[in-house]
């Protein structure tokens, strides 16, 4: 396979993975209004747990927990669930008490501590070295080599992404999603309508974290390795940027967001050769560009590049409505009173 095609499949994989990550964050942030600045922490938990479950017993100086050699997609699902459990702990501790910005403060602190802890505590997930040689799903069974695995797994990820898109669109189009968006717009007014806002936020946090975990799991299975350099706290911002660029509360726009932000700005620059004497400068510039891009989008198109689509009532015009019900409404001509 030509390097270009190989490379395109790699990019395609990242688009699918980041779509899943973006949908999860979009549920939490776009629909639920939760500023989860620790999102990448949940991605990492999914990645580590999936990786450690798929790997065999540690050997040759490696150290990590689990090591059960679980097959695809069991490790992936458990990774998602692990992120979910972690989200449950965090939410129960913080959701009832905190307004948006304090919650964001606690969450960002959480992701920094988690980072610090996983980096230092080697027996858990290998410390700073992380996990390596995570088996490539189906590679042995189907006799795939490095060249064929990439397109194959990109395809698998596409299927997973399609499934998760279907599940997510059912959620966001349901009355559940509607009430969640109501609580995003005004939690007090929503509570005054009889909605247990805490419950709605909690559920959106849990499902969003599951998406984070699964996205992380796919990344570790694709890349075969995962360590703390893959989830610097700034990565959370990338996903936020993807969600905002793609359109807050908009699942289809996410595809564009995933394409522009993580792929165009971070995967692509990895393949641009370093400027001699300035290692990493390209990546720094790309990161700054993302920050600036996001601010510009927020300023000029605060609803995102593709704004949230109106969910129309599909009710007939007033005149038709009365033809069908046979009632006559002479009493209400309203325009002049408003």
């Amino acid at each position: 396979m030509s390097p270009l095609v190989y490379y395109l499949f790699t990019l395609a994989f990242f688009v699918f993975a980041y779509c899943i990550l973006g949908w999860g964050l979009n549920l939490q942030f776009g629909h639920g209004g939760i500023l989860n600045f620790a999102y990448i922490g949940f991605v990492a938990i999914g990645a580590y747990v999936t990786g450690a479950l798929s790997l065999g017993k540690p050997s040759g100086g490696q150290s990590y927990i689990f090591g059960f050699s679980l097959p695809f997609p069991v490790g992936l699902i458990l990774g998602g669930l692990a992120a979910c459990v972690f989200a449950l702990l965090v939410s129960v501790l913080t959701f009832r008490r905190l307004r948006t910005d304090y919650l964001a403060m606690v969450l960002i602190s959480l992701s920094l501590v988690l980072y610090d802890f996983i980096n230092n505590f080697v027996p858990l997930f290998g410390g700073a070295d992380g996990l390596t040689n995570v088996p490539e799903p189906f590679a042995d069974a189907l006799g795939l080599d490095t060249n064929t695995f990439v397109p194959f797994f990109a395809g698998v990820s596409l299927l997973v992404a399609l499934l998760m898109w279907w599940v997510m669109s059912r959620i966001t189009n349901s009355p559940f999603g509607r009430t969640l968006r109501a609580s995003r717009d005004d939690d007090e007014a929503t509570a005054a309508l009889g909605k247990n806002v805490f419950k709605f936020r909690l559920i959106s946090m849990l499902i969003g974290s599951f998406y984070a975990g699964v996205g992380g799991g796919l990344i570790v299975e694709f890349a075969g390795a995962f360590n703390t350099s893959a989830w610097l706290p700034g990565e959370t911002f990338l996903i936020f940027a993807a969600v905002i660029v793609g359109g807050v509360g908009n699942n289809k726009g996410m595809i564009l967001g995933a394409l522009i932000v993580p792929v165009l700005f971070t995967q692509l620059p990895k393949f641009i050769p370093d400027i001699p004497g300035h290692p990493g400068l390209i990546l720094n510039i790309a990161a700054m560009a993302i920050g600036v891009l996001l601010m510009l989008v927020l300023w000029f198109r605060p609803q995102g590049v593709i704004p949230e689509k109106k969910r129309l009532s599909k009710l007939p015009p007033l005149s038709e409505r009365h033809r069908s019900t046979g009632a006559i409404s002479a009493q209400l001509t309203t325009e002049e009173t408003l």
Binding site: T94, Y102, S109, V113, G234, N284, I285, L294, L298
Partner: protein, 292 residues
């Protein structure tokens, strides 16, 4: 026993660094009512500016370099507020817009720092000092200076807030900005001044963090951010005196805890304290009406 005193001594040093930064963060929060997630990167810019002055051809004395770094960050904070943050805060009612902007700003500044100064660990040019016994404690001269700077800064802020007209206006604005605006306080000027002070303290905090940790990296301010948040939340968000008390509690607790656990996890203790504070006193020790 002597180990405990050593830990308390170093805890006071950490508390001093924390107090400078936590008060800087709180001052600005009180006036603008949103958290600046780029504060850790303000600290990094201060730290690296003073590093360039201190180790570059100019060989500026570290304390002078610290002050210049602080002033520079203060000016930068004023400009960032004027041209970026204030316009966003004015335009969007929803809190999360401005929070995302400061979060994004932190990404930009972090990468700016690492593209200017690189990612290698740097050190200040300060002579190795033998620690001195002071009562049961053991301090280097630099550590004593850091504690001294924190005490002087805290006293200065206390006097400013209680004795000067500007300080009183600041408190009035922090309590009720609409009322303050209608009662003839020049809120624009106070806001600018507050950002300057916040940046100044961030810059100084960044340098003393680099001095006490004996290393500077682009991310060290950002990593320290959660310790600052812990101090601020324990003390009560937006309360200046709360931030001071929170700094002492968190500073001492992290260092004393290092006696009992692996020191590489000692900063994680700050997070444990933050969670405990949320569970038992969510509004902080010095809670303020309307800010909790």
């Amino acid at each position: 026993m002597s180990e405990l005193f050593l830990a308390i001594g170093f805890g006071l040093v950490v508390a001093s660094v924390l107090a400078l930064s936590a008060v800087g963060l709180s001052l600005q929060f009180g006036i603008t009512n949103y958290i600046n997630f780029a504060f850790g990167d303000f600290m990094a810019i201060g730290a690296y500016t003073s590093w360039t002055l201190n180790t570059g051809p100019l060989h500026v004395n570290i304390w002078v370099a610290m002050l210049i770094g602080g002033l520079l960050v203060g000016v930068m904070a004023v400009l960032l507020n004027r041209f970026l943050l204030a316009p966003f805060a004015r335009r969007f009612q929803k809190l999360f817009y401005i929070l995302i902007v400061t979060f994004g700003l932190s990404l930009v500044l972090l990468n700016l720092v690492s593209s200017i100064w690189g990612d290698e660990v740097q050190r200040y040019n300060i002579s190795n000092q033998a620690p001195q016994h002071i009562g049961p404690f053991l301090f280097t001269v630099d550590q004593l200076v850091v504690i001294g700077i924190a005490i002087v800064a805290m006293l200065a802020i206390h006097f400013m807030l209680t004795r000067t007209r500007i300080g009183k206006s600041m408190r009035a604005m922090s309590d009720n900005s609409t009322l303050a605006m209608t009662s003839g306080i020049n809120t624009g000027f106070i806001t600018t001044l507050t950002w300057f002070l916040s940046g100044l303290l961030a810059g100084i905090g960044g340098t003393v963090l680099g001095i006490t940790q004996a290393s500077i990296t682009p991310g060290s301010g950002e990593t320290f951010l959660f310790v600052i948040f812990a101090a601020v939340i324990v003390g009560g968000v937006g309360s200046i005196y709360g931030a001071m008390v929170g700094a002492v509690i968190v500073g001492l607790a992290t260092e004393v805890a290092a006696l009992f656990i692996d020191p590489s996890y000692k900063l994680d203790i700050a997070f444990a304290i933050l969670i405990l504070a949320l569970l038992f006193r969510p509004s902080g020790l010095f809670s303020r009406p309307g800010k909790a």
